[in-house]
Amino acid sequence: MIRMILKWGALAALVAMALYLILALYAQREIVFAMLFLVLTASAVFVFVHKKLYAHRYIFPAVAGMGLFVIFPLMYTVGIGFTNYSASNLLSFEQVQENLLDRTYQSDSIRYNYGLYDTGEGYVIYLEGKHQDLVTPPLKLDGSEAEVPVLPASRKPAGEPLSMRDIIQLRSELSGIDLLTEDGRELSMASLRSFAAIRDQFTLHDNGSITNNQTDVTYFPDHETGFYRSADGETLSPGWTVNIGWDNYLKVVSDPSIRGPFFEIFVWTLSFAVATVVFTLALGLLLANLLQWDQIRGKGFYRTMLILPYAVPAFISILVFKGLFNQNFGEINLVLEGLFGIRPDWFSDPALARTMILIVNTWLGYPYMMLLTMGLLQAIPRDLYEASAMDGAGPVNNLFNVTLPLIIKPLMPLLIASFAFNFNNFVLIALLTGGAPDIIGASTPAGTTDLLVSYTYRIAFQDSGQNFGLAAAIATAIFLVVGALSLINLKLSKVKV
């Protein structure tokens, strides 16, 4: 009985929390996110209430986690790829409108010079108007007063006004207060010597256009580009996010300052992933073969030593290499200079930077291939090698005629996975070169060592324009590559469920 109460109580509490979140998101017009949590909550309740779905209760949290943090972001990213979501078009139309209508300016037409008096009970601001003077009640000016009423007055307070030096000292307190007149106007500090009325910057009309009260220019909302636009083409910032169809994709294909870098990076990404798989596999297979050999002693020692690069956290070893390869203080260049008298520019020459990346990634990746192939080699019957030895085959013959044909089939899915992993090896590039050296003539941040993933990351998060739309479009293209690879993999590995 108590268990039942606990169970339903917990469920009810969770649902209540979720509903609060959904309503709050909905109220802020975040429809997509509100829908997401609504679907999530509804399916949770359905699964946990329905008797027949007992088994689904066990998998629900994991599936929901994947849905929320893998599948939803994936779909959302594809969606962003068709919009102009970026630093200049970050908000929704309603938020932009709200933002613009909230703006105010100080009108010059209603401006008061003022004097600040220190009466016994506190400070008094006395405003001198053209027709009517105004005065505040005694103020503390300690930052606690935000809105203060002012009343008509005809006589200045007794004594001398405070000097400019005292006013400068009280400046931040003075600029923090708004003075409210009896007829509903709002005055705030306009300069050290004057207060002026605050007026709304924009007025909204029934047809959706807005007029700037200061300049009398009218702007119409342009839902094609996501900006308020005036008759002579001037736009207001910020803009809002609109659907722009395939424009981001067209830009990648047609804009030469994006197309050039994009294809260079694409080719490098492919060659990097292939080269990494080939190098790590060759090295790993060679070492695995040596470790499998009966004649070698001390296998445990060798194995542990050879595995070390895999055991050190990658973010540390990559940074270690970044320091060792440093052109001026790095130990690798010190050694090279001592031996051959050369100091290669590892970080500013594109070819050398790419070489360095391949060296580092081979160092990082060969132990994994070694471990994989060791497992597979153990499964090859010994007598096959004896038979080939009888026929006089050497190690090279053995490798190409016995070993490789036998292990290639189980190895293939793992090689594809490794290819896909390196195709998207963001951490290596981000920590080692950050994409440097830069590609000349690119309008977005693009480097000769950038992979497609680090390229999208830089477009989205490191460029001042933060062009999320373009980044998402490129990410969508990578999704297609990864999706195709993982489908092939599923076929090849013949997963049984």
């Binding site: 599936v63 994947m66 959302y76 070698i296 973010f315 009888m390 998207n424 990578i478 997963v495």
Partner: protein
Amino acid sequence: MAMVQPRSTKYRVLASHLGMLGFIAIILFPLLMVISISFRSGNFASGSLLPENPSLEHWYLALGIPYTGEDGTITQPPFPVLLWLWNSIKIAVVSAVLILALSTTSAYAFARMRFAGKGFVLKSMLIFQMFPPVLSLVALYALFDKIGNHVSWLGLNTHGAVIVASLGGMALHIWTIKGYFDSIDRSLEEAAIVDGATTWQAFRYILLPLSVPILVVVFILAFIMTIMEYPMASVLLVDTDKLTLAVGAQQYLYEQNYLWGDFAAAAVLSGLPITLIFLYCQKWIVGGLTAGGVKG
């Protein structure tokens, strides 16, 4: 032992030993170098592998203790390394516990129960596991930004967000545990259920105690993967005192502020425990990895 041995075997064995030792020397060079550098004084010192004038300067700073030089100058620690390590461990332990709990229960259902859509869900998990989160960072950023407006401990710049985001990577662990459950005979549980135990009790009191080894492996694997996670933490965390080690460590090597020696000590200090844990558990971890995919 093979019966047929060519005459040249002796030389080939010798050559293999020499080759492997030489290779290991090259492989270990960066690691030994960084240990050596952590004991050199100053951030630009060069020298041999064994430092001539060993100094504990960088180690003091890595441990958060101000260092007083011989000439009386006091150097303050540049970054809160221990705090970063603590952040990393905190995040990794909490998410490893959550991942373990959730993936064990799901793996149980996948291994023992029949239900609609089982094969489909399992296969989709394998496919989606290959999509790197770094590609949907914009969406994840927006997601946590929106949630954070209403649930402050899950917003941007919180550890809660990083922990929750790591739950997206559970498929690999579910597959690992499911594989282990599949290898355990189900007759014991069936007997218990015949005797009146509920499904949950059979799972909790019979299967779980039998599966402790794989649970330990998955816990350690999830722990290490979360500690090493870089892209999501780098976008979600902002403040210096909130960073994880993986995100913070790179700040040592900025062009303008190049602290090579301080980095070396911090790297050894924080990398060593993780390396030792990994070496200790490598046998089980490798089994899990070859079954599921690639180290993240």
